[in-house]
């Protein structure tokens, strides 16, 4: 696109028909105008193209086993060991429910991918107080209210982490990898497996179970009260801006593992699987949504 340059008319000059008509021809060429020829303030909303300009792409889908009454849902168990392939959010038949982006969305330095999702979930556990199992990270110990002995109690940190995967290979949606900045909770630290918190850029969590002290007094515990988490929701938001190259995204999906707990090692904070607890952890999940958009950044 060329820059149109003509000398401006100055005081004392005459305006003749030829000059005016030449200018008219310049500006009436198809696609003749660019940033050199249009002042930013000369643009009003009506002048803006309404497609694929600021909001370049947008799509959404229903994920999971969608049933508002929770009469049907999927049930999964906690995971142990490594590598543990994550659970994939799927429909009632066990088929994954990704957001397919068709022939792909091209991401470059000029735009940003924004992803938002939510899922109806019900965390619970089987058996008796699995957080008290030998070797579990999921409990703290406090003094007993009687003045002698101690009580263990769930920390409230134990959680199911959810994160995003994408297919940036092709539209077959068979090449899923974790999104940039996200790891798979299979990194070893001490005797555990998980992620550093800095490796959790698309992670959202929901509590696995809850327990509170019944009538504690001055930091001491007399009784313990297990509290059902019940049906609740987990949601996430993630933004991605490409560097100098181009990435084409063909699909997005939500995956999860569990149950995990906080850990610090050599001054670094981690979220690691709590293997003594995980076999007793359960998660029912229902439906939700996954939406994505590409927005021009400048």
């Amino acid at each position: 696109m060329s820059r149109i340059t003509r000398p401006r008319i100055i005081d004392g000059q005459t305006v003749d028909a030829t000059d005016l008509n030449s200018r008219f021809t310049d500006y009436s060429q198809p696609a003749a105008l660019n940033a050199f020829n249009v002042r930013d303030a000369a643009v009003d909303l009506g002048h803006l193209k309404r497609t694929s300009f600021q909001l370049q792409q947008m799509d959404q889908t229903i994920i999971g086993n969608n049933d508002w009454k929770h009469s049907t849902f999927n049930t999964v168990s906690g995971q142990t060991g490594t590598p543990a392939a994550p659970h994939i959010v799927s429909d009632g038949g066990g088929t994954p429910t990704p957001l397919s982006l068709g022939s792909g969305w091209a991401l470059n330095a000029d735009n940003i991918l924004r992803v938002y999702w939510d899922l109806s979930v019900k965390p619970y556990y089987t058996g008796s107080r699995p957080w008290a199992n030998v070797g579990a990270l999921s409990n703290y110990i406090f003094p007993h209210g009687s003045g002698s002995g101690t009580h263990d109690i769930a920390t409230g940190v134990t959680c199911w982490p959810f994160w995003l995967q994408w297919d940036i290979t092709d539209a077959t949606l068979t090449n899923w990898v974790n999104v940039t900045g996200q790891s798979d909770f299979n990194n070893g630290v001490s005797t555990y497996f998980g992620n550093q918190l800095s490796q959790c850029e698309s992670t959202s969590v929901v509590n696995a179970f809850l327990e509170t002290a019944g009538g504690p007094v001055n930091g001491a515990i007399n009784t313990r009260l297990a509290v059902d988490v019940g049906w609740t929701s987990v949601s996430g938001a993630w933004h991605y801006k490409e560097g100098l190259g181009t990435t084409t995204v063909y699909g997005l999906r939500v995956v999860f593992t569990g149950v995990c707990h906080s850990l610090n090692n050599a001054g670094v904070n981690w979220l690691v699987r709590d293997d003594p607890v995980s076999p007793s952890a359960r998660l029912d999940y229902n439906g939700g949504s996954l939406s994505a958009m590409v927005v021009r950044i400048k």
């Binding site: 109690i153 959790c200 509590n207 009538g215 933004h239 001054g267 400048k298």
Partner: protein
């Protein structure tokens, strides 16, 4: 739709005063001789505009450092806790995790989005001296722009993901955005240490996988 000129002069014709004045207005209407009345509808996209001409996005995917708040980082915690906020190191009140400048804001609407996972210790939420049904603790969160609160939320309890969004109109000029959290005060029944073999400070709260996105649209 108007064209760039309303009167096309023909060779040999006389130029009337009105015709001259219309052309003169067009000529001086902008540096490049076009004003907004002369642009066709739906004719402008990014190829016509300079970068940041009509909007701009600022964002940080792991704010402030690796997505974690680093204001409180108690190292005297047990191995199954994060080095984070404890009663021993947290100063209380609204606590800023970081301030970011939005340089080049040209005036108009600003949309802000701040998301994170928050853990808040609630083991002692039903203390004998707290009254029933208890007083759960929350991680309140708010966003300030140039020192003025534009959005505040009670926040989450226990361990969950949270998203805070707000929008406001601002005049042109660089903006300063401050992201703050506030923990519910401990009751007299709340413990500050764990006992047994560990006997260390008790993690009260943490904020991680924090990120923000700011979307400014001018005028």
């Amino acid at each position: 739709m108007k064209r760039w000129t309303t009167r096309q002069a023909l060779s040999g014709n006389l130029t009337s005063p009105a015709g001259f004045n219309d052309e003169f207005r067009n000529q001086q209407s902008s540096i490049t001789t076009l004003d907004r009345t002369q642009l066709p509808t739906a004719s402008v996209d990014e190829s016509n505009l300079k970068d940041y001409a009509i909007h701009r996005i600022w964002y940080d995917k792991d704010f402030p450092t690796g997505g974690e708040q680093t204001v409180d980082k108690d190292t005297s915690v047990s191995v199954n806790m994060w080095q984070s906020s404890t009663a021993q190191v947290h100063a209380g009140g609204w606590t800023s995790i970081g301030t970011v400048p939005l340089t080049g804001f040209s005036g108009g609407s600003l949309f802000l989005e701040w998301t994170f996972n928050a853990y808040v210790q609630n083991i002692f939420a039903k203390g004998a001296n707290d009254g029933r049904p208890g007083s759960p603790a929350y991680m309140r969160a708010r966003i300030l722009v140039n020192g003025v609160v534009i959005v505040e939320r009670r926040g989450t309890s226990y361990h969950e993901h949270m998203r805070v969004t707000g929008s406001q109109q601002f005049p042109p000029g660089d903006l300063s955005v401050d992201f703050q959290f506030r923990l519910t005060e401990l009751s007299q029944d709340g413990a500050v240490n764990v006992s047994g073999l560990l006997n260390t400070n008790l993690m009260q709260a943490h904020l991680w996988n924090s990120r923000y996105l700011a979307f400014g649209r001018w005028r």
